[in-house]
């Protein structure tokens, strides 16, 4: 779509997600993730973070409205254009609307992750009048009361979710849906994807969370055992990822061009610490998932700016030491296919540099499918990884143009 302003002498329009907005110098802090609460009105069987909705201890520890506003003000000063509100269920905060409007009046776009259950006519009206400028992302746990409520372990949850999304549809508030693939809702997948196609703002098929993470606080071995039981196997996961073969091949061609190659001994080759995440209690983490106390910064004792410019640059210098990691992950050319990272290592093993076999198996499953490795081969032992990646990219691109 050509915008009349795009060819103007005075203005350019930008889609923040697609265009580099700043030709000269990017903002000090481009975006901020805010986990408004760990509490949730769902009690999902697979969740890595949730606490009960009325958890008194959590409520007493959460930042106040004033503290969040101060953080948002600091973020605006540092150039943040997009803030991401997540949880737990962020709409459980009584002051959500106030914080949302504060962020929007500071000139920020807002990305909201929600289960949709707390969307009221008033909230839907607010999103319609003052749009978040990002599509709201609603996670769907089932397409009928029996399946949804079995995942969320909360009677009546489905009805509230359904009412919430209907309110968004009625007010024409842009949103997309994502699924969580679990044994309890496996039979709903077809129905879910058919419904998702009717949502005007969906682009392609919905994504799923299925390679579930362990509890990020390392707070419950029992819950972790349950999560491990619910994880999709690498084989089943591959069949879900490749269900739209054409899209998968196209995505993977682009992905392989950008992200493959061994990461070496530096642990943080990702964006951790370059952008910031804050938990419900004001603890700034290198990323949303990495909650190792030694790597976190208490904003109540400092500032966003100090965290970004002084504290996290030191964190990003940390090198891997674990011999197993150095042998495997540091040398592995299919890094881009693997979810191994310090956060996953922390939640699984309590260290930053221990290989997580589950994610390793998923990456190898995909690599075999793409033809990057042979059956029985370990990717970290491959010496001509770059050559293989180039060959596979060419094959994927040829497929994309209809060649054989």
């Amino acid at each position: 779509m050509v915008n009349t302003l795009a060819s103007s002498d005075y203005c350019d329009t930008y889609d923040l997600n697609k265009s580099p907005l700043f030709g000269r110098r990017p903002p000090l802090l481009p975006s901020l993730v805010i986990e408004l609460t760990e509490r949730c009105n769902n009690n999902c069987v697979h969740c890595y973070i949730n606490l009960p909705r009325n958890d008194a201890k959590a409520i007493s520890r959460e930042l106040t409205t004033g503290e969040w506003k101060d953080i948002l003000n600091q973020a605006a000063e540092m150039g943040v254009l997009a803030v991401h509100f997540t949880g737990g269920e962020p709409l459980l905060r009584d002051d959500f609307a106030e914080l949302y409007l504060h962020a929007r009046h500071l000139g920020m776009r807002v990305l909201l992750f929600t289960n949709g259950r707390c969307i009221t006519p008033e909230l839907a009206e607010m999103f319609s009048r003052i749009p978040p400028l990002e599509k709201i992302e609603v996670t769907v746990y089932g397409m009928q009361p029996t399946t949804y409520d079995a995942v969320a372990r909360c009677p009546g949850a489905f009805d509230e979710f359904w009412r919430g999304v209907q309110l968004l549809l009625q007010r024409k508030v842009p949103f997309i849906v994502k699924g969580a693939l679990l044994p309890q809702n496996k039979g709903d997948r077809e129905r879910f994807e058919a419904w998702a196609q009717t949502i005007p703002w969906m682009e392609g098929t919905p994504s799923y969370s299925m390679f579930f993470e362990m509890r990020g606080r390392r707070d419950s071995g029992k819950k972790n055992e349950n999560i491990a039981q619910l994880r999709t196997t690498p084989e089943d996961g591959l069949s879900v990822l490749t269900r739209d073969e054409i899209r998968y091949r196209k995505d993977m061609a682009q992905f392989c061009q950008k992200y493959m190659g061994a990461s070496g001994i530096r642990l943080f080759s990702c964006g951790a610490g370059l952008s910031l995440s804050i938990d419900a209690y004001g603890i700034i983490q290198p990323c949303l998932r990495l909650r190792m106390p030694e790597l976190c910064y208490d904003i109540r004792k400092g500032s966003l700016k100090e965290a970004l410019t002084v504290f996290f640059p030191r964190i990003r210098e940390i090198l891997a030491e674990n011999p197993d990691y150095l042998e495997r992950c540091a040398n592995c050319f299919i890094k881009g296919l693997c979810e191994q990272c310090p956060a996953k290592s922390w939640s699984e093993h309590g260290t930053l540099d221990t290989p997580v076999d589950y994610y390793c198996a998923i990456a190898h499953e995909q690599a075999r499918y793409l033809g990057l490795i042979e059956p029985g081969e370990s990717a970290w032992e491959v010496t001509n990884g770059r050559e293989r990646v180039e060959r596979v990219i060419n094959t994927l691109l040829e497929g994309d143009t209809g060649k054989t």
């Binding site: 009349t4 203005c11 350019d12 700043f22 000269r24 150039g79 254009l81 749009p131 842009p174």
Partner: protein, 106 residues
């Protein structure tokens, strides 16, 4: 081009938030209906920015033209064309409002 009252004084609309980030002026829609699509931001170029900075609700467009023509040593005619073009676009997008009609104006 939209016909403009050059005696009018304009101020940024409450429908948008204007932010200066690393020297760049970014206009972020606050309410629905500012952009053609939902996730647009607007980046104002150098010429637009110097005009924008003069839209303070106190200075008429005629005065803006004169001030900027003097400041940048360009002809009045040239500057008026730029002001008319830029202000016309801002009005079309409801990004500015006539200060005389604004309750906040004195």
């Amino acid at each position: 081009m939209q016909e403009l009252d050059m005696d009018a004084r304009y101020i940024p609309s409450g429908n948008i938030v204007a932010r200066e980030i690393e020297g760049e002026l970014i206009i972020v829609p606050l309410v629905s209906g500012i952009g053609d699509i939902d996730d647009e931001l607007f980046s104002v170029n150098e010429t637009g920015k110097v005009i924008w900075d003069r839209l303070d609700g106190k200075t008429s467009l005629t005065q803006v033209v004169q001030l900027l023509a003097d400041q940048y040593s360009v002809s009045r005619q040239e500057m008026e064309q730029d002001v008319r073009g830029f202000v016309g676009e801002l009005l079309k997008r409801k990004m500015i409002t006539d200060a005389r009609a604004s309750p906040a104006s004195s």
